[in-house]
């Protein structure tokens, strides 16, 4: 923390500055077909200085903590802000936030870095092997990664915060092939499995080895399963697929920087424009979406964001209405200016940077669909005809977050309230507001789980962030299904 204060002490009067010193440690293991094909340990350490001078930003970062390098980096950040200042019409202002002095450490039962490597290798190899229930399983995979991020934040306003964020995750994936058909099944989720800001207890709870045979058998069963039918049907999404649906169609469009056009050059803009705030009917009355960085164990959980603003829980969509954005200190002020409000809007603490070498951007924390009532079993029993889809396989959405298409690994037909035949290659597509307005049932708290998305991309230069999404299975009426 002293180093951060030392860097801040080098900032000349008359400008805002903050510094982040970040030290990351990661361990990753991947097995394939019984062979450990990746075993890696990585570290990265550096600092980034953000300057706001005359209404323009400058940012410089370095891995070199020598006095000369610190001086050079601070000077470069100031020069960059001065260079930017010549080309701006609108001066950036920051919302007023109380500078915090604080400390936080992810509560974990078992620090993943204290677990012997041997145990992790044995677990993954056993889970890899257990998937191979038949010769048609052509690929079996298992993976694990653990991450520890220590970061110190200090600002010229007097904030001084240190945090240690720990997260880890694991998963398995079986691939079956016959002729030109190729089918995958994953557990507990696709794209690397399940991730959370928890310790190694999460990995043990997954019980990968016990689930592996079922995953292998399902991958094989998909080879002979019927194609998912095409048409407009009722759709029930499992929590792990709904998590990505929330991520893409609620999380991203409610990022205020995107809505204000700051991501137009890469990721796009948003159909949820400021003039719609408080007015747009985003979903049906049962749809409530929150951004909650305080949820224990969520992959997007922390105590302070990378501007030093405390973690918060806010409603983005309440009773179906679009009521709030994910915001930063800069965009909170800009939104007030656009809406003609003098409310003195505050940041809701969504600024996150992927490393010391990147500036913080508005990122999702844990963006959740709040639970409703009843069990998945009840929901299926209440559905005359429909399709139940689970585990994401493909995802794509347009650059204003309206037209989307998702594919899942597996689906089952629902007939007369009962799960029937297995279906392969399921897909569905729609337009975001119409889709969420067709939501007529959300399962209860017992079915609710926070799914981790460790690979959310945004920004230039690119930043990959880890976010969480709480969801329980939900039903959507008359969705366009099976159009691949």
């Amino acid at each position: 923390m002293r180093k951060a204060e030392e860097i801040i002490s080098k900032i000349p009067e008359g400008m805002y500055a903050d510094v982040r010193i970040v030290e990351r440690e990661a361990e990753s293991i991947a097995t394939k077909d019984g062979v450990v094909e990746a075993l890696e340990s990585s570290t990265s350490k550096g600092f980034g200085v953000r300057i706001l001078k005359d209404g323009a930003w400058g940012f410089a970062a370095s891995n070199d903590f020598s006095p000369n390098s610190i001086d050079r980096t601070v000077k470069l950040a100031i020069e960059i802000s001065e260079s930017s200042a010549k080309h701006i019409d609108h001066k950036t202002k920051l919302s007023s936030e109380k500078p915090v002095k604080g400390s936080y450490k992810t509560p974990v039962e078992i620090d993943p870095f204290t677990v012997p490597l041997e145990e992790k290798l044995e677990l993954l190899l056993a889970a890899d092997k257990a998937q191979r229930t038949d010769r048609k399983i052509v690929i079996s995979q298992a993976s694990y990664s653990g991450h520890k991020e220590k970061k110190v934040f200090a600002s010229t306003e007097g904030a001084l915060i240190d945090q240690e964020i720990i997260y880890c995750g694991a998963g398995i994936e079986a691939s079956a092939a016959e002729g030109s058909d190729f089918q995958n099944r994953s557990y507990p989720n696709s794209h690397g499995g399940q991730f959370a800001t928890r310790g190694y207890e999460l990995i043990r709870e997954m019980d990968l080895v016990s689930y592996a045979p079922r995953i292998g058998e399902e991958a094989m069963a998909l080879l002979t399963a019927d194609q998912c039918p095409t048409g407009e049907f009722d759709l029930i999404l499992d929590g792990n697929q709904l998590a990505l649906q929330i991520h893409e169609s609620c999380g991203h469009p409610t990022e205020l920087d995107r809505a204000l056009g700051y991501e137009a050059s890469y990721a796009g803009t948003s159909f949820m424009t400021p003039d719609q705030l408080g007015k747009m009917t985003y979903g049906s009355k049962i749809v409530n979406m929150t951004a909650d960085a305080t949820l224990p164990g969520g992959l997007g959980t922390f105590r302070y964001d990378d501007e030093g603003v405390p973690a918060q829980r806010v409603y983005l969509v309440r009773d179906g209405k679009f009521v709030e954005y994910l915001t930063s200190r800069e965009t909170a002020v800009e939104l007030d200016e656009i809406l003609g409000a003098s409310a003195g809007r505050h940041s809701n603490g969504a600024m996150r940077a992927s490393s010391w070498a990147r500036i913080p951007l508005i990122r999702m924390t844990n963006v959740n669909l709040e639970s409703g009532e009843g069990s998945l079993e009840d929901l299926i029993a209440d559905t005359e005809y429909g399709i139940f889809m689970s585990t994401n396989k493909s995802w794509s959405i347009d650059d204003r977050r309206l037209n989307f298409q998702f594919g899942t690994e597996i689906a089952w037909e629902i007939k007369d309230g009962k799960l029937g035949r297995m279906l392969k290659n399921p897909t569905y597509q729609g337009m975001t507001p119409q889709f969420w307005n067709s939501c007529d049932a959300i399962c209860g708290k017992d079915e609710w789980n926070i799914w981790g998305t460790p690979n959310c991309g945004k920004g230039q230069p690119s930043q990959v962030m880890y976010t969480g999404h709480g969801a329980s299975p939900a039903r959507f009426r008359k969705v366009k299904i099976g159009v691949a």
């Binding site: 075993l39 890696e40 340990s41 410089a60 930017s84 690929i139 050059s265 500036i359 309206l402 230069p461």
Partner: protein, 456 residues
């Protein structure tokens, strides 16, 4: 820049810290600057310097008489301090000692002659970047029409070096300057870009003019029914499609795992006869790379010859495992993606864009694709939407702009139905820009499957 001599000294030290049977060290030095603009003003201006040190240790736990496979561990850090060099080697050794044997690993590459290449190491200064951005913003403001400019000017310099205990030494330094803009009108968007080795060659006027033409031509987009259309994909759109081809197409690992559409088709006709695709890392029109991330020399490789799949891409691991020739396509270890081509290039055709449009009776001109993902990797079917300018062509002429559409399209079906290949290749980023660029033409394709529309 640290320079070749300094990096060689560091690599030598690292190799000396381990007594393992095989050791590989991969070094990166990066200097990166980026100026980003939106709503017609600069809103982000950043600079960062970093180092990368990655060490791969290979232990052979058995005698030659009873080989059991080798144990491999990789550790990395972002410092070249003496203490950190030793620490990374020690961490990689611990991992390798605790690792299980990999029966497929044969050996790290042995030393080979590397091709000589020339490239630029000039970077754009923050002032140069700001001036180029100001040129675009000024032009856009002059045009009016409620158009605002967004975009980025990215300037990067990389040094990459590879050494191993067999005596491999490879060093390369390169810079890239990449200016792009998306212009937002009230009902349309337009895209323009310029990717150069030297910032002095960046033409901000041209970037602005290209994007302005698109946004103005697209001002009043009309609804269009989804369905199958003849299309002309502009080079940017072709590049976005071919990124997915690179990953799952010629990748030897995917091929042998039965995960690729190409699996079992080596030597067979996979695309139309007018399609020839090479990986050309030494073509100085693109961003050259003389070796892969194992220090193995790169060379021109024909992948698809007149529609026939003739070669796959290999790294040392997969070449050893599948008893094939290493083609120099290793990515940094540990690599679970497989060997991937980073310098794809089409054999160009003879037609200009104007001539290609003239050939279309009724179809769509697509500027870019967006959010492309595999829908079905095994059939190489992708999905995504159009972006930044989609236009209806009727009787050889652009009639009007249309609203964006979603597509679900098999790449092999599209490349088996190419009416003509454009004559002009455009350089597009494929990896870390300064180390890899594809060269893509426009393609006139007989049928492209659009499945739904959107509201803009």
């Amino acid at each position: 820049m640290l320079g070749e001599a300094k990096l060689k000294e560091i690599a030598k030290k690292v190799l000396g810290y381990s007594g393992a049977q095989e050791v590989e060290v991969l070094l990166f030095v990066t200097d990166h600057g980026l100026t980003r603009f939106a709503n017609s003003q600069i809103h982000q201006n950043v600079s960062s310097q970093d180092l990368g040190l990655s060490v791969r240790i290979i232990l052979d736990p058995t005698s030659r008489k009873a080989p059991r496979g080798k144990r491999i561990g990789v550790a990395s850090a972002n410092s070249f301090d003496e203490k950190e060099l030793k620490n990374v080697v020690a961490r990689a050794e611990v991992l390798a000692k605790n690792q299980k044997e990999d029966p497929h690993f044969v050996s790290l590459p042995k030393p080979q002659d590397l091709p000589k290449v020339e490239t630029s190491t000039e970077q754009a200064t923050p002032e140069q970047r700001a001036e180029a951005v100001a040129t675009i913003i000024k032009k856009v403001k002059e045009v009016g029409h409620g158009i605002v400019a967004s975009g980025a000017y990215d300037s990067s310099l990389s040094e990459v070096a590879v050494a191993n205990s067999h005596g491999v030494w490879a060093y390369h330094a390169a810079a890239a300057s990449d200016l792009s803009t998306i212009l937002l009108g009230p009902h349309s968007t337009g895209f323009g870009s310029d990717l150069q080795k030297d910032p002095a060659l960046i033409n901000a006027d041209l970037v602005a003019d290209r994007a302005l033409k698109k946004v103005l031509d697209g001002e009043d987009p009309k609804d269009i029914e989804p369905g199958e259309y003849e299309v002309i994909l502009e080079p940017q759109a072709v590049g976005e499609m071919m990124g997915f081809f690179a990953w799952l197409g010629p990748n030897a690992r995917m091929y042998h795992e039965q995960a690729s559409y190409f699996s079992g088709k080596l030597g067979e006709k996979v695309f139309g006869e007018n399609i020839t695709i090479v990986d050309d890392p030494l073509d100085e029109v693109g961003f050259v790379m003389p070796f892969d991330f194992e220090g193995f020399p790169k060379e021109r490789l024909v992948i698809v010859d007149s529609g026939r799949l003739v070669n796959l891409t290999y790294d040392s691991y997969n070449a050893g495992r599948f008893k094939a020739k290493n083609t120099g396509h290793a990515l940094p270890a540990p690599n679970t993606a497989g060997p991937i081509p980073l310098h794809l290039k089409f054999q160009p055709g003879i037609k200009s864009m104007r001539q290609m449009i003239k050939d279309v009776k009724k179809g769509l001109l697509v500027t870019r694709l967006w959010y492309v993902r595999f829908l079905n990797p095994r059939s190489m079917t992708i999905t995504g939407t159009t972006r930044d300018g989609t236009f209806l062509i009727e009787n050889g002429k652009i009639k009007h702009a249309v609203k964006n559409l979603r597509f679900n399209q098999s790449i092999p079906e599209a490349l088996s139905d190419v009416v003509s290949v454009g004559r002009d290749l455009v350089r597009l980023s494929s990896f870390e820009t300064e180390l890899g660029t594809n060269q893509m033409p426009a393609l006139h394709i007989g049928k492209w499957k659009f499945t739904s529309g959107t509201e803009f």
